[in-house]
């Protein structure tokens, strides 16, 4: 299996994507922003199809559009409970509308460029077996950027995520942290789409993180566990796909769902 270059690339690409997704996803689920992560991938779809129209690579288009959308979503003031009690409801409505509009826009761009169905399928469901050296280098570069950003933001982000009202009172710059984090999520979503596709980004970004949070693991243990589980799901998906001929994305998404079900029954009922 590892004698083939496309499989070596696939293991490297899915490995870096998995570790990044596990770490970013842990904060995303903790902050209750899974829906925003999902929306960013759909916005990325419009960016990817739009980029092809003007001669750019789909990954670059996806990353750019998602980052811009991430900044807009992060700008939504969070504040403390007393200052902004109703923000979350508005935010979900806005995200839902932008998500649907982005999918529609992506569909329009696809029609304009008369793209074959296979290219749409690759965008929506991923094609990790088709990652070449150039894409791999870009993935490593973007993942490095994401990890650097996450390391810079991690401390105030954790404080603002676990105890937002106290963080606001102590002077954490919530809007700066939120915008920075949503940019990281946007980039991670674009990168993750290369492996799982836009529709299945949830599998790696949310699945492992939700499992670790369900277990109530403290931040360091939760982050490590989330990254390792995402890695196991990705590489496991590749191996199973090799032997069964079923798509990698299918095995990854199935593994994520089964992991959560297992944790659901294993975790202490009182948590």
């Amino acid at each position: 299996m590892l004698h083939y270059e496309f499989m070596q690339n696939a293991f490297l690409a899915s490995g870096v994507v998995a570790i990044l997704s596990g770490l970013v996803g842990w904060f995303l689920v903790l902050r209750g922003q899974s829906f925003a992560g999902h929306a960013l991938s759909h916005i990325g779809f419009a960016g990817a199809t739009g980029a092809v129209l003007i001669g750019l690579s789909p990954l670059m288009g996806m990353a750019l559009s998602a980052v811009i959308a991430g900044l807009v979503l992060g700008w939504e003031a969070e504040g403390d409970l007393r200052a902004n009690a109703a923000t979350a409801n508005h935010r979900d409505s806005v995200i839902g509308l932008v998500l649907a509009a982005s999918l529609g826009l992506g569909l329009l761009f696809l029609q304009w460029q008369h793209a074959p169905v296979s290219s749409t399928t690759a965008l929506l469901f991923g094609n990790v077996l088709g990652v070449d050296h150039a894409t791999l280098r870009l993935l490593f570069l973007l993942a490095g950027l994401c990890l650097a950003g996450l390391c810079f933001l991690a401390r105030p982000l954790l404080f603002a995520s676990l105890d937002p009202d106290l963080a606001a009172a102590k002077g954490v710059r919530l809007r700066f942290v939120a915008c920075g984090f949503m940019s990281v999520v946007a980039l991670a979503t674009a990168i993750c789409s290369e492996t799982t596709g836009i529709l299945l980004v949830f599998s790696l970004l949310v699945g492992p993180a939700a499992c670790m949070l369900r277990l109530g693991l403290a931040p360091w243990a939760g982050l490590t566990g989330s990254a390792l589980l995402a890695l196991a799901l990705s590489w496991g998906g590749l191996v199973l796909s090799w032997y069964t001929d079923a798509p990698v994305s299918f095995w990854i998404s199935l593994g994520a769902a089964l992991s959560y079900i297992a944790v659901r029954f294993l975790a202490p009922a009182t948590r």
Binding site: L81, R155, S161, L162, L166, R214, T270, R271
Partner: protein
């Protein structure tokens, strides 16, 4: 000897919430090391006054200084315990929650190591919450959570502690232990405490001053009187 700035200084401060006037042209000076109880009926502005001290609520007019600085500039020196707070991850332990707030405004990786462990241990021991910190927040009673949140407010060794109803949900035994601890911290470390409370009888023996909000005025008196 250089002048020591007041822990809290209000100079003709007016506070309102929307169209509702809460405090009008109030003057106040509280010294470092003082223990002050803030009292007043519901809706008279106790929480708003505390939020104004943290720079979370702007004064309509007048000047507020905390430890000689503007409120926003003094936030790092203030330990705060809000009356209400969201807890997005109640499945995590109290230790995880408190550790996240340790120098939580700095950029970089989350805190870890001996420094954090020592500060956590010291803060938790002050409120008798060492064992509570190992349990998920969702499994703790209201009074137990209050002891954890108080430990969190004490974690960064603040020069001013602003506590909004810290004794609510706490049994009499722990109310007295917490008040004894706060009084001792004021005397030993020079930390000032401003604490809102409805049950004044239990607090009076421990406090230096009673600050009453009434009819849009602030009235400071000796707590023993």
């Amino acid at each position: 000897m250089a002048d020591i700035p007041s822990a809290i200084l209000l100079d003709r401060v007016t506070l309102s919430h929307g169209a509702r006037l809460l405090v009008e042209k109030a003057d106040l000076a509280l010294k470092p090391g003082s223990f002050t109880v803030l009292a007043g009926a519901n809706g008279h502005g106790k929480t708003t006054l505390m939020r104004a001290l943290l720079g979370l609520h702007p004064a309509r007019e007048g000047r507020i200084a905390v430890l000689g600085r503007a409120p926003r500039a003094a936030r790092q020196l203030i330990g705060y315990m809000p009356q209400e707070r969201r807890l997005p991850a109640p499945q995590l332990t109290g230790r995880a929650l408190i550790a996240a707030s340790w120098h939580g405004t700095r950029f970089g990786l989350p805190g870890w190591g001996r420094g954090l462990a020592d500060d956590l241990k010291a803060a938790l021991s002050l409120t008798g919450a060492e064992a509570l910190a190992e349990q998920p927040l969702s499994q703790l009673s209201g009074g137990e959570r209050q002891r954890l949140f108080l430990a969190e407010a004490l974690l960064d060794k603040p020069a001013l502690l602003v506590l909004d109803e810290p004794l609510s949900g706490m049994d009499l035994h722990w109310q007295q232990k917490i008040l004894t601890m706060l009084q001792a911290r004021c005397r030993e470390t020079g930390m000032a405490v401003l604490m809102s409370c409805h049950g004044l009888d239990i607090v009076r023996p421990f406090a230096d001053h009673l600050l009453q909000i009434s009819e849009h005025k602030l009235e400071l008196s000796d707590a023993a009187l």
